[in-house]
Structures are given as structure tokens and as C-alpha cells.
């Protein structure tokens, strides 16, 4: 019970920090601007105006969501150590793992709040433009949230032992590979080179497959989405978050704060 209270205290404070940060408002503003711009871009075309509007809107939500996740996530732990705020916190009855999980949950909650705001703006723009907004779009937004949870997990892991600069490189690299790994595996399957085939499959297995969280096409084109298209990626995300936080916790528990 005390552990849960400590985790929620740290998480609540992380959300409060984000709410009082001007940088996040700026990023959120540009994301909303881009979503709104989708309706302008769609007027440039005579065909598939709704598709352009929604493609741009959902892409803006995903890209800004990831940008904010990386931007804030890479300094999540490092900043606490660098500014020495962690000294007084860890002198209290809270374990390092509880602190780490609290910081993680706080940032994820912040990102989901922003995702909800961006999603609401997207729904409003779609409604004003006469475009469809249904359960498929909600499913796409839900999985975008799951992807953000995984990205924050990656950023938290790197932030627990390296500098923000390196953490941003590693996290961005992993995000890019995570979106390409499924295509890479397909390429590997078609390749006659056994080494490349093996390498492509290994990368797909050991790194998170982030394209599993992309339902943009189905949502925009109104294609049917099965329940398993949602819960399987959600379970996949949960598994990755557990692995990433457990690894981050092991690394963080062994650190010296000099």
C-alpha cells in the first residue's frame, strides 16, 4: 500500500511538472496546428479529401506523440540525477524501482492526456470537415497510446544509465528500426541470402515491432478491425513495457549517485 502511494506520488508530481512546462504546451500547440492544417491540405485535392485530412491528422498525432515521448523521456531519470533532486527522494522510504516506475507512469499519463487532447482536436476537425470518425479511429488512437507507452519505456531504460544525448539517439534509432523491422523481415523472407534472412528475423524478434501499433490505414479507409487487431498489440505492448522497466530497474538499482 505504501509502495503504491509512493509510486503515485512520484507519478503525480511528474504529471504536475509536465503541466507546468511551457515546452510541452508549445509542442502540443504545433501538433494541434498540424491537425487543423490537414483540413486546408485536403482542399487542394478534388478526390479523397477525407483521406488526406485524416492521414495528415493521425500522422501528426503519432509523430508529435513520439517526439514528446522522446524529448521528455530521455531526460526523465538523468535530469533527476543531474540536478540532484534524486538525493532527497531516495533518502525517503521509497525504493529505486518504485521511483523509476512512478516516473514512467507519470510521463505515460501525461502523454495519454496529450493524446486525448490531440484526439479530440482530430475528431473536431473531422466532424467540421464532414469526415467520418468512428470506432476504427478510436482503436487507432488507443494503439498510438500503446506505442507511446513502449517508446517511453525505451527512453526510460536509456535515461536510467546514459546522457540525454545518447538516450535520444538510441531511442530514436530504436523507434525507426521498430517501424522498419516488419518490412525488413518480409524482405529477409524473400531473400536468398541465409545470413540476411536470419539477421532480419532476429532484429524483428529482439526489437519491438512498432508497426504492430499502426491502424492508421484501416481507420482512414474504414476497413474492418478485428478485436484481436487491438488486444494482441496491447498485450504485446504490455510485455515490452514490463521487459523494458525490469531491465531499467536492474540497471538503476546498481548505479552509484556520486
Amino acid at each position: 500500500m505504501n509502495a503504491l502511494r509512493s509510486i503515485l506520488t512520484i507519478a503525480g508530481n511528474t504529471v504536475r511538472e509536465a503541466i507546468r512546462s511551457r515546452v510541452l504546451y508549445t509542442l502540443l500547440f504545433f501538433a494541434l496546428l498540424l491537425i487543423a492544417t490537414g483540413s486546408l491540405l485536403s482542399t487542394l485535392s478534388y478526390v479523397e479529401r477525407e483521406r488526406i485530412l485524416q492521414d495528415v491528422g493521425l500522422a501528426a498525432i503519432r509523430i508529435f506523440g513520439v517526439a514528446i515521448a522522446i524529448f521528455v523521456g530521455i531526460g526523465l531519470i538523468h535530469r533527476e540525477v543531474d540536478r540532484r533532486t534524486i538525493y532527497t527522494i531516495l533518502s525517503k522510504p521509497i525504493s529505486r524501482t518504485q521511483f523509476l516506475v512512478g516516473k514512467y507512469l507519470g510521463l505515460v499519463a501525461t502523454l495519454w492526456l496529450q493524446l486525448a487532447i490531440m484526439g479530440a482536436a482530430f475528431a473536431a476537425v473531422s466532424w467540421l470537415s464532414g469526415a467520418r470518425f468512428d470506432a476504427g479511429h478510436l482503436a487507432a488512437l488507443l494503439l498510438a497510446g500503446a506505442e507511446l507507452a513502449v517508446i517511453v519505456g525505451v527512453a526510460t531504460l536509456f535515461s536510467s544509465f546514459t546522457t540525454p544525448m545518447l538516450a535520444s539517439l538510441f531511442t530514436t534509432g530504436l523507434w525507426a528500426i521498430g517501424h522498419l523491422s516488419r518490412d525488413l523481415r518480409e524482405l529477409g523472407l524473400q531473400s536468398e541470402d541465409a545470413v540476411f534472412r536470419g539477421l532480419a528475423q532476429t532484429i524483428h524478434r529482439v526489437l519491438p515491432d512498432l508497426s504492430a501499433f499502426d491502424l492508421t490505414s484501416q481507420a482512414v479507409h474504414g476497413l474492418p478491425i478485428a478485436a484481436s487487431d487491438v488486444w494482441l498489440p496491447l498485450a504485446y505492448a504490455t510485455g515490452w513495457v514490463v521487459i523494458l522497466l525490469a531491465t531499467a530497474s536492474i540497471v538503476f538499482e546498481r548505479r552509484d549517485f556520486r
Binding site: T88, S91, P93, S95, R254, F257
Partner: protein, 326 residues
């Protein structure tokens, strides 16, 4: 009278840091041992880089020792649950600047396990205690260094801990602020709390601490009661004389007693054991004794001699203290 129990025990604590690309070992603590007893103010003194903060960080679980063992209130320092019984003020404390004084104390109170219904009351009480009630709702980014130091003390005490660890608590404070912190530390002792204080301000140690340990290059050089150090049999006496015959003055000068001579007035510094002989010689020779002032060695002098002493020469007091704990 019951004997004070050991609240903090440190036995053979070692810490090596890895430095450079090759990970060369650099020892920061070379097997230190000491005890802090309940209800006392313990001064941990040493020059910069001696290992004071490293020791405190080991005690706070912020760094892992390479060897040795340390406990607080009977718990290993790696544990976290017992920390609701301790408070810690780091050197030059940093806090979340986006929070107000009241919010930061609520935050630390919750983390420290203060019951929900008590959080608000404890935060207000501590703000009042450290004189920050007027700035309770201002963001910490607007606080001065002295105000942040007080906030640090308030967060260390917000959960009413039994043992308080202070790292350079007077650092960066003006004389009034230093006096306030000194009074606060004494008040903590009156309330029965144990205070462990890292500091380099020796006058504060001298006036506040019951016992001290001096650490130099990762080794304990002295440990014992503050008054034992100051009355360690090495005391001297300052004599002020007039009409001292020249012949006797020359003898005292050869013996290295003369500190200053101004006209008819001569000032001597004589070892305590020789005071009676010197005074008798002066009176017999017809000199007039103006003043006899006992001169105690200050902690600063003891500290400087400890720092200057060779590495492998711990004092007998440190040795005795160490033997007593085994």
C-alpha cells in the same frame, strides 16, 4: 544512567570509484569505522575530498560500498522501509523549482509515509518552524539560497524522524542563518533526536557537537568526545608579564616561550605542565604577573595537525575509540 545505544554503526567501510577509460580504482574510503550514539550531535569533519560526503551517501543508500558494513537503527543501509525514521539534508540541496514551498513539503511528507490527514498540518508546521510561512505559496525558483537551505531542513524533518543527517547545513548561509541552523540543531537534540552533521565549519562543530570524527584521505584520524579533544592534555597557558629581567627573558626566548614582546610587556605561551615553574621563576626574579589565561587548542588546530599527520599515524584516541567498538 542508561548507556546511549549506537544509532549509526560503520565498520570497515571501503569505497573505490572507477576512474578513466581503463576503469582505474581510486579509493575514496579506506576501511573507516565509527559509531554515532542516540541523542547526540555527531560532527563528521574533514577537508574537501576526504570522504565525508561519500560516507554520507553510503549511509543514505545513494552509493554502494565496495566493502564493509553500515547500519542505521539496526537496519542495513541498503534497505528502504526504515528510512521513514531518518531525515537527510544534502549539501546545496536542489528541489523541483516548479513547486511551491508548501507543495514540496506535501510531496516529501507523502513520500515519507506521513498519514494523509497529517500531511497538510506537518507541512504548515515545518514551514513555520524554518521561518518560511510567508513564502509558502511562492515557487521554489524564486527562493534565495538561504530559503532553499531552510526548505531542505524542513523536508528532512517533515516526517518527524529519529535520526537526522545534515551535509554542510551552514553552507552558504549568512551569520544569522548559521546561528538559526545551530539553534535548530540544538533544539533537535533537546527533542531527543540524533544528529549526524558533515561540516567544515569547525567553530560550529566546537560549539554544537557532542562528539566528532575527523576523516582525512578516506581514513578516520580522530573519533571521540569534543571536549576530550579540546582538553587532551596538550593545553597551554598564555602569561602576560611586566618588568621581566632581561636574563630570564633571554632564557624564555631560547625555550621558545616568548610570543610577543612590547616594551616592558612580554607575552609567553607555556605548556600547562610548566606553568607553575615559569611563574615561580618570574616572581622570584621580581617580574609582575599581569594575566594568566589558559589556552585550549581549538578544533581547528587539532584538525590541521590531523590533516598534516602522516597517513599511517592514527591518533591514540581514534585507536581507543575503534577498540571500544569491537
Amino acid at each position: 544512567m542508561t548507556e546511549a545505544r549506537d544509532v549509526v554503526t560503520v565498520d570497515g567501510l571501503e569505497k573505490d570509484f572507477r576512474v578513466g577509460l581503463l576503469g582505474r580504482r581510486k579509493p575514496a574510503l579506506a576501511g573507516i569505522s565509527f559509531r554515532v550514539r542516540s541523542g547526540e550531535i555527531f560532527g563528521f569533519v574533514g577537508p574537501n575530498g576526504a570522504g565525508k560526503t561519500t560516507t554520507l551517501k553510503v549511509l543514505m543508500g545513494l552509493i554502494r560500498p565496495s566493502a564493509g558494513h553500515a547500519t542505521i537503527l539496526g537496519h542495513g543501509v541498503g534497505e528502504s522501509a526504515f528510512r521513514r525514521q531518518i531525515g537527510f539534508l544534502p549539501e546545496n540541496p536542489y528541489f523541483y523549482e516548479f513547486l511551491t514551498g508548501r507543495e514540496i513539503l506535501r510531496f516529501y511528507a507523502r513520500l515519507s509515509g506521513v498519514p494523509r490527514g497529517e500531511v497538510e498540518r506537518r507541512a504548515a508546521l515545518l514551514l513555520d518552524w524554518v521561518g518560511l510561512s510567508h513564502a509558502a505559496d511562492a515557487r521554489l525558483r524564486t527562493y534565495s539560497k538561504g530559503m532553499l537551505q531552510r526548505t531542505g531542513i524542513a523536508q528532512a524533518l517533515v516526517h518527524d524522524p529519529q535520526v537526522v543527517f545534515l551535509d554542510e547545513p551552514m553552507s552558504g548561509l549568512d551569520p544569522i542563518g548559521r546561528k538559526e541552523i545551530r539553534d535548530l540543531v540544538l533544539r533537535l537534540r533537546e527533542e531527543g533526536k540524533t544528529v549526524f552533521m558533515n561540516t567544515h565549519i569547525l567553530s560550529d562543530v566546537e560549539s554544537v557537537c557532542d562528539r566528532v570524527a575527523i576523516i582525512v584521505k578516506g581514513r578516520i584520524r580522530y573519533e571521540g568526545a569534543t571536549h576530550d579533544f579540546l582538553d587532551d592534555g596538550e593545553s597551554e597557558c598564555d602569561l602576560v608579564l611586566r618588568s621581566l629581567p632581561a636574563e630570564l627573558g633571554a632564557r624564555f626566548s631560547e625555550a621558545g616561550f616568548v610570543r610577543r614582546g612590547l616594551g616592558d610587556r612580554v607575552e609567553l605561551r607555556v605548556h600547562e605542565k610548566e606553568v607553575a615553574d615559569v611563574l615561580q621563576a618570574c616572581l622570584t626574579a621580581g617580574a609582575r604577573v599581569v594575566a594568566v589565561t589558559p589556552h585550549r587548542r581549538s578544533l581547528e588546530e587539532i584538525f590541521l595537525s590531523a590533516v598534516a599527520a602522516p597517513d599511517a599515524a592514527p591518533t591514540s584516541q581514534a585507536g581507543r575509540a575503534g577498540e571500544g567498538h569491537r
